[in-house]
């Protein structure tokens, strides 16, 4: 057993260091009863909470609301329909109207309970109401636990453009309880594992070793292994975000490993055919192949990554890919500078670099290697 795990009594805290915007990420299993205390520790006296939750996790939301009410704090709760379409200007406006109607003011606190959709939406609502009020993230999908709830990116979609509108707005507390995984469908859970593997490849070789040894337990949602995997993922994300909070230095771009390919797969396959993490899994395979072709790393990186992704039951090829359509999409991606393709590519397990001016023919070959 990993030595850090042995010294971990089950609950732990990771801190995101951003000066006066720093906050803790609390990771535990079955800790709802301690939520109110952690909430009070991070936020002090709060008189009014606006709890915004995914309709699919109503029981969770109710349990948390009950906890907060124990401290005689007033709680108003609003259910948001599940799914990406809720990240809209219309839903944003509705929630703001609802908050005003509930008497929210600048001392009120928003609590977001749900996956990335709810976190992104409620976070942007909190960032904008009265020019910014405090908020807490309670992620209930694995993707939200290891990725979207940490780092302060909030936002909504415009028709045809994801995350086009939003704010950088950090939460005061991220509260992760792996019990929420009980109701999460397998495909969504496994999809979240792609981002977990990503952190190993881009930033933490020791963690990657751990994943190689513990993939089976992780897939089976063993609480201890799961907590450890979430913890290492949050540590990696917090490190990167701490170095580049607002995506200005370029450092934060390493989180996009595999994502330029993934976005092109998602866009050309029609959003919804693949889950995001599934596309990321295939995209990381393409990126590793590209790195090998460009002489940036040896074939062992792809081999080890392939084995871990397969052990996590993630897809590693996409036979239905429309390769001819993918390249133009990639040329429009944000990481294209002056018409040149740029990629985050591994040099070895645990380290990536930004590689510019990549020949489109090499990119196409890397794509075809996984179709």
């Amino acid at each position: 057993m990993n030595s850090e795990l042995a010294s971990d009594p089950g609950e732990s805290t990771v801190s995101v260091d951003l000066g006066d915007r720093s906050y803790p990420i609390h990771i535990a299993t079955g800790a709802t009863g301690r939520f109110a205390a952690a909430f009070a520790r991070s936020l002090g006296d709060v008189s009014h909470v606006l709890l915004i939750y995914d309709a699919a996790v109503e029981p969770w939301a109710e349990a948390l609301a009950a906890q907060i009410r124990v401290e005689s704090t007033r709680v108003d709760a609003a259910a948001v329909p599940s799914g990406e379409p809720s990240k809209s200007i219309a839903q944003f406006g509705q929630l703001l109207d609802w908050m005003l109607d509930r008497g929210a003011d600048r001392r009120s606190v928003v609590v977001a309970v749900g996956g990335g959709v709810i976190g992104d939406l409620a976070g942007f609502v909190a960032a904008s109401f009265a020019r910014g009020i405090r908020f807490v993230q309670v992620p209930t999908t694995l993707l939200a636990m290891v990725d979207s709830s940490v780092g302060g990116k909030t936002g909504i979609n415009l028709s045809g453009a994801k995350n086009m509108v939003g704010a950088f707005w950090q939460p005061e507390l991220v509260w992760i309880d792996t019990l929420a995984m009980k109701t999460l469908p397998d495909r969504s859970y496994l999809s979240g594992l792609a981002e977990v593997v990503k952190y190993g490849v881009i930033d933490d070789a020791v963690f990657f070793d751990y994943l190689e040894s513990n993939a089976k337990a992780l897939v089976e949602r063993d609480p201890e292994v799961l907590r450890y995997a979430i913890r290492q993922s949050c540590l990696a994300k917090a490190r990167v975000v701490g170095e580049d909070e607002r995506e200005t230095s370029g450092r934060r771009a390493i989180l996009n490993y595999g994502h330029t390919f993934a976005h092109a797969i998602e866009a050309t396959a029609g959003y919804g055919t693949l889950l995001h993490g599934e596309a990321v899994s295939i995209g990381m395979q393409m990126a590793a192949s590209l790195a090998i072709r460009l002489g940036r790393c040896d074939a062992g990186v792809l081999e080890r990554q392939t084995e871990v992704l397969q052990a996590c039951r993630l897809p590693i090829t996409f036979p239905e890919a429309d390769v001819a359509a993918m390249l133009p999409v990639m040329m429009r991606d944000k990481k294209v500078a002056h018409g040149k393709l740029r990629f985050i590519l591994p040099t070895k397990i645990g380290h990536v670099e930004l590689v510019g001016d990549v020949d489109p023919a090499e990119v196409e070959t890397a794509i075809r290697a996984h179709c």
Copy 2:
């Protein structure tokens, strides 16, 4: 003639000092021809400008757009209907859709041309698009020149709540050309003067002296006097904002001198009966009376303030006031702490302080003194 004026060749720059968010306010008369150069100085190479303007100032917007195009920058322009209802979620969403449609990206720059409505709306659009892109304020009302374009408060309204949604987002440049005053109706212009007088009372006794001597020329829109008054107003606002950018220390509250009364007047008279500056003028009179009653300043403060406001042709009483309705509105105002009324009150010309726990009976008497 004032010595600082003598050394001012007509154009001048005030700087707002906010660390890496600092920016210049440029003040001139008939300087459109130099806009492109100032724009390039503040923003560097820009490939795409989104010019958002009040439909009432189309010729101004077109002249500026032509200037920017001289540098072969692509300019897309959108007219927004005049008036407060444009500060809505619907208009916000429409502008964002339009920007996406025009191919805006995170390097694009928003230029807001109009009064406070356009500046607040376009500023929030810039703050939110791609989680924040750069923007420039070109205020075309006096209120916008001396108040709303400086300080980074952006936002829109919810039905029944002004400025309830928004962001703190600083511009890269504020470009003030007093020629825009040519088309501004008298009532709007004079209304803006109330905020100018406010700066003298709260922060700058020498400037107040100047206003006493030059009120007539100011009312007649003498360009030199007008530029000087705008400059001193911007200096005062920049000083206060520099000390309390996000309204956290309480310092920024001094800008609300007269405003607790003014908001109550506006709310009970029905928004639109009085212009904002007219209500502020009456509100400052009530605040000065309250200060005298509480023994915070001598009667001379009110006398001098009355004379300057009258010389600026601003109302100093509001006989139609619904006094009984005003107090409850004031109790709901943001500056009420734990049910106690708090006011920004003068101690002498050029200095104000926050006074808490004020007896409502004294407030009512101060209101009645100006009805």
